[in-house]
Symmetry: C2
Subunit: 120 residues, 2 copies
């Protein structure tokens, strides 16, 4: 049991209070497959994998979807144990949970990351 970031002090905002995480070990295969079965979510994962942890804010991804849909995709990925998020001022930054997801679902993330990007 590791402390969650929001337990270090008072939550900075209502937005941050809603930021719950699920460890990949607690995720069902169904939820993991549903998370990666969407091409936009796979594009997010591939882009995150090419960057240092906490380097990318949600708003910096160039995605062909509305703001609400983008937010939904990040929530699905977080709840499937695929990414960790923190609020850094106005930005919500991300970390790909690669080692712990690989331990729970060996090979799955690798298939996603080696997939060629879709044609634009």
């Amino acid at each position: 049991m590791s402390a969650r970031p929001e337990s270090d002090g008072p939550p900075s905002s209502a937005r941050a209070r809603g930021l719950t995480h699920v460890h990949p070990a607690d995720v069902s295969l169904q939820a993991a497959l549903d998370a990666v079965a969407d091409p936009v979510r796979r594009a997010i994962l591939r882009e995150l994998a090419g960057e240092p942890d906490w380097a990318r804010a949600c708003g910096t991804f160039d995605l062909p979807v509305s703001k609400a849909t983008r937010s939904h995709h990040f929530t699905v990925l977080r709840q499937a144990g695929l990414l960790e998020q923190r609020d850094a001022g106005p930005r919500r930054v991300n970390r790909l949970r690669r080692p712990e997801f690989d331990e729970a679902f060996p090979g799955l993330l690798e298939l996603v990351l080696r997939e060629p990007p879709a044609a634009p």
Copy 2:
């Protein structure tokens, strides 16, 4: 390029004429994920994995779905390169394409096969 069973002679029936196969190497990650993202299809795969090749006919699986839905699930699995089918008289028998699917999508089928069966 390997010959397909139906090219060995005249097709035995209209049913057999429709039996096209896709090699896992020609399947997209999207199609592979869509195929295994359904719990009934994962149950079929787990059951097939416990039996010799060509031992099980489609009709012998105890599935909580209609005959048409069952048939659809087998078609999706065949078109995702997960199984091979043959007509043997009135029975349509199956082979799990485990080695060739594993080569195309390492780890994915293993995740499906080690998943605990759903509670009845």
